[in-house]
Subunit: 216 residues, 2 copies
Amino acid sequence: MNTFTEENYLKAIYHLSIQSESVSTNQIAGSLSTKAASVTDMLKKLAEKELINYTKYQGVTLTPAGEKIALSIIRKHRLWEYFLVEKLNFKWDEVHDVAEELEHISSRELVDRLDEFMGHPKYDPHGDPIPDRHGKFKAHELKPVSSLGVDSVGIISGVREHSAAFLQYLEKMQLIIGKKIKITEINTYDHSVILAVDGNKVHISREVANNLLAAL
Amino acid sequence: MNTFTEENYLKAIYHLSIQSESVSTNQIAGSLSTKAASVTDMLKKLAEKELINYTKYQGVTLTPAGEKIALSIIRKHRLWEYFLVEKLNFKWDEVHDVAEELEHISSRELVDRLDEFMGHPKYDPHGDPIPDRHGKFKAHELKPVSSLGVDSVGIISGVREHSAAFLQYLEKMQLIIGKKIKITEINTYDHSVILAVDGNKVHISREVANNLLAAL
DNA sequence: ATATTTTTTTAGACTAATCTAAATTTTTTA
DNA sequence: TAAAAAATTTAGATTAGTCTAAAAAAATAT
């Protein structure tokens, strides 16, 4: 078994790997709010365990074994988030920190039964896909709202930022997973977007539009 | 906040305090499968934090603050056990280890909502009382089956031993929480007990009778 | 292509929790 | 109540994870 800390490093590397093939020491340090020196130490340890491919100064990638662990942590995180929202009535901006703890509960049996209890959900409350027992998942095809043209329609289906502040803002605007939207107008000078939700006009900044994902 | 380890020490001290007013270093070491020297170190730390009353060589008791933490851990442990059995269909002999991990999840909100979700259960799957938000609970009045006389009747309501082996044995014998029993015969030479459950005769050893608790 | 800046690693130290072995205190027993 | 036994504490080490400061390597800029 691995420690919580090891699991957190693997998860961080996994998430960072989506942007850039190889992940740097500093990226990891930033993502985990720790220092580069600490990261180097941990990378040696993870490489020793053959969970990452690491050559000094060259950044890291996950090995298949490392990726498998990362995916199992992510599976747990997202299943717990789903549980918290759907069964315990947490709001979508309240679940992250609790799930950060719950994701480290080791029992495989627990996760699989929880999955079953909830009917094998495919997406978590933020629209992120939940890997199955084998680590397989399918992300839906999503586009940032900022990339849509005037008059295009879509369904709010995910976010690129998970901060509580951002999620609360979206909720206030009724920009919730599943809502149908239509782009009404795009401001040329500041790229802010006006869209229609439930018949209401909502005006959002370029930044918000960038972090809000829609299925077409 | 306290570490998992600190929480485990407080919980162990709480449980041991039920038998003996003051708890010894060796008792704690035994209960946590660690060495007396390690316990001494931790006791100093917990005393420093004013969670226990500790004087060298004299054993320890919990302070009100320490007891409060211990009770919150026990509350979480038992609520999770209830959840695992009632919602996720675990068997009563399978839940202990998972609950040992879950009990350290810190979110107060989580526990209270879980409690609500399950309808504020009063007892866990082994018949142990679940403390409420304030640490209050009422144990029912239970007697070991070994203390009952011939012809007395009762309802299986708890166990004194929580090992999987013991629980599995009880289940096989249909000696399950809630079952009505009647003492049919007590063997004078080995103190084994024959009792009636659901119209069947069950023969149990003195040891089993000692660890099985009934409400009258 | 050399100097400067940035990134990364190494060296050495710290904290939490643990251990073994030795010393000390308490308890038991004769 | 003194000797022996048992329990407990201290001393000194170890491991995991972290840190700061300094050294080394890589990237960038002149």
